[in-house]
């Protein structure tokens, strides 16, 4: 029979492990943020070539999959909404529902999840591989801070590119919604646009884009952090890639819930 004391010890061990993880994440976030700030003050110290490289891999290379996912999301959302609200003769509300949902929530969220799978995992794998091949050690003996060298270019690239991808995703998602409106309800484009403009405030668009900036920060931070925490064997890289994606999506959804509430409260104050 298992000794109850063992279980208590196990719980204690887990608590300590969790504490280690949290401490490591917090100090990593601090380190990267300091390096970002240093980059703003001394732009010459930024690794421009790497920055452009990651701009390309995080941005243009991700456009096709972003368009596909966002369009499908718009279609699915519009279809489900249409089936329900048609029963109540609320067709004219549909463009508002679609627009608000996509701009405020689904657009930024889906684009961020796609970017986690594409870029966040790639960051973890890249840094994890560098750890195993002693490249991180080599950086440190050269007196180069790995955060400045490896994380900052990725971070800037993501901070620029994810909002742009989100704008694309928003647009394509709404276009997908319109396709459904037209085929199911025969709604003409000018009507759809008018109803959308009436129901969807510009601030919702801005809210979504701001969220995507936060998501970019989370994706890069988590991906790189997991990379640096990679163990010392080759299987460890796979493990940290997986956990980068899982951890990042978890943080994104939590943050999204928090931000949704925050923005709603903020709009309430505005009246």
């Amino acid at each position: 029979m298992k000794n109850p004391a063992d279980s208590i010890i196990q719980c204690g061990d887990m608590a300590f492990q969790l504490k280690d993880e949290v401490v490591s994440l917090i100090s990593f976030v601090g380190d990267v943020t300091a390096a970002l700030w240093e980059g703003i003050r001394h732009p010459k110290r930024l690794r421009w070539k790497d920055f452009l490289f990651y701009m390309n891999t995080c941005g243009p290379d991700g456009v096709p999959i972003t368009i596909m996912i966002s369009a499908l999301m718009g279609v699915v959302l519009a279809y489900q909404a249409e089936v329900q609200s048609h029963k109540y003769g609320a067709d004219n509300f549909l463009p508002m529902v679609i627009g608000c949902t996509i701009l405020r929530e689904l657009g930024p969220l889906m684009v961020a999840i796609v970017a986690t799978g594409r870029s966040g995992s790639a960051f973890a794998a890249e840094i994890g591989t560098m750890k195993i091949s002693e490249e991180l050690d080599a950086l440190r003996t050269m007196g180069i801070r790995p955060t400045r060298f490896l994380v900052v270019p990725k971070m800037w690239a993501m901070l620029f590119m994810l909002p742009l991808l989100t704008v694309i995703g928003d647009f394509v998602g709404c276009a997908g919604g319109y396709m459904v409106m037209r085929s199911e309800l025969g709604m003409p484009l000018d009507v759809f646009l008018r109803l959308t403009r009436q129901g969807v405030a510009v601030k919702y668009f801005i809210e979504g884009v701001l969220k995507s900036v936060v998501f970019a920060y989370i994706i890069t931070m988590t991906g790189c952090w997991r990379g640096f925490r990679t163990g010392s064997d080759a299987i460890a890289v796979g493990r940290s890639t997986t956990s980068a994606v899982v951890t990042s999506i978890l943080f994104i959804v939590l943050t999204d819930a928090f931000l949704a509430k925050l923005f709603t409260v903020f709009y309430g104050w505005q009246g």
Partner: protein, 268 residues
């Protein structure tokens, strides 16, 4: 250790005191003590997995030891704060066992990186020095090659060249010639001796190449996994003839009179 300092006023290039190192709670090497004088070329010998790379990585300050102290020119790298540690590390040149070239940079950029990051040299000056270092290891002409397009031996030589980038005072080579053909390996030996001649650098290296050990090393420190420590320490020729340890004698005299069954340690 105060009397030790009094007898030797000039600090050792590397001094290791009561050092225990390992990973987590696992001790790999226990209670090491040695000093390496400036300008010495020291070879660390020992079976695979006995902790040679681990020792090197602790001495260059990548890991914190479990116990004990490591002094570089009299300054402790163990207790140094971040800034002092960086200043100590700036005198190191390291070639890692697997090369550790940066995959996203081509050969020339790899060797230029420490120069770009740590000096104020102009682009032209850097370019000149990069081709100097590449010529040293016979890699000129490969500047634009990415590490993934180089052979294992070329990567080793490139890593060697990168370690020399800033003409450091302390050089660490982890198996620089493992897997190289004998001629290339001879060439690296020649480069090592030239460096010592020119810059009086202190060199600590891990290698199993006997000819290389006898040609360049002033001293051999033999480690053992069973003892978790130093088995013997002395000049290669002296250890070959007079070591109290059977394995050390056998290993070092393997050279000319190689007998496959005599390379196994008797006590293993």
């Amino acid at each position: 250790m105060a009397d030790n300092n009094a007898a030797n006023p000039a600090p050792a290039a590397i001094e290791v005191r009561d050092l225990s190192i390992g990973y987590g709670s696992r001790v790999v090497l226990d209670n090491l003590n040695f000093r390496i004088e400036p300008g010495q070329i020291v070879t660390i010998l020992g079976g695979s997995g006995c902790g040679k790379s681990t020792l090197l990585k602790h001495i260059i300050g990548l890991y914190k030891p479990l116990r004990g102290d490591i002094l570089i020119n009299g300054r402790s790298i163990v207790t140094a704060d971040e800034q002092e540690k960086r200043s100590i590390m700036s005198e190191f040149g390291v070639a890692y066992q697997g090369g550790a070239l940066f995959r996203s940079l081509n050969l020339a950029e790899n060797i230029a990186l420490p120069m770009e990051e740590l000096t104020n040299w102009t682009r032209a000056e850097i370019r000149k020095r990069v081709s100097e270092k590449l010529a040293l290891v016979h890699l000129n002409g490969f500047e634009k090659y990415m590490p993934s397009d180089l052979s294992g031996g070329m990567i080793k030589r490139a890593a060697f060249a990168r370690a020399l980038a800033l003409d450091p005072k302390l050089l660490f080579f982890d198996e620089p010639s493992a897997g190289l053909d004998p001629l290339t390996s001879d060439m690296l030996d020649k480069v090592i001796l030239e460096i010592r001649e020119k810059t009086h650098a202190t060199i600590m290296m891990v290698t199993h190449e006997l000819p290389s050990i006898f040609r360049v090393s002033d001293r051999v420190i033999m480690l053992s996994a069973e003892k978790k420590g130093i088995v013997d320490d002395g000049s290669p020729a002296y250890l070959r003839d007079h070591s109290a340890d059977e394995y050390v004698r056998t290993f070092l005299s393997r050279g000319g009179t190689y007998k496959s069954n005599s390379t196994e340690p008797d006590h293993a």
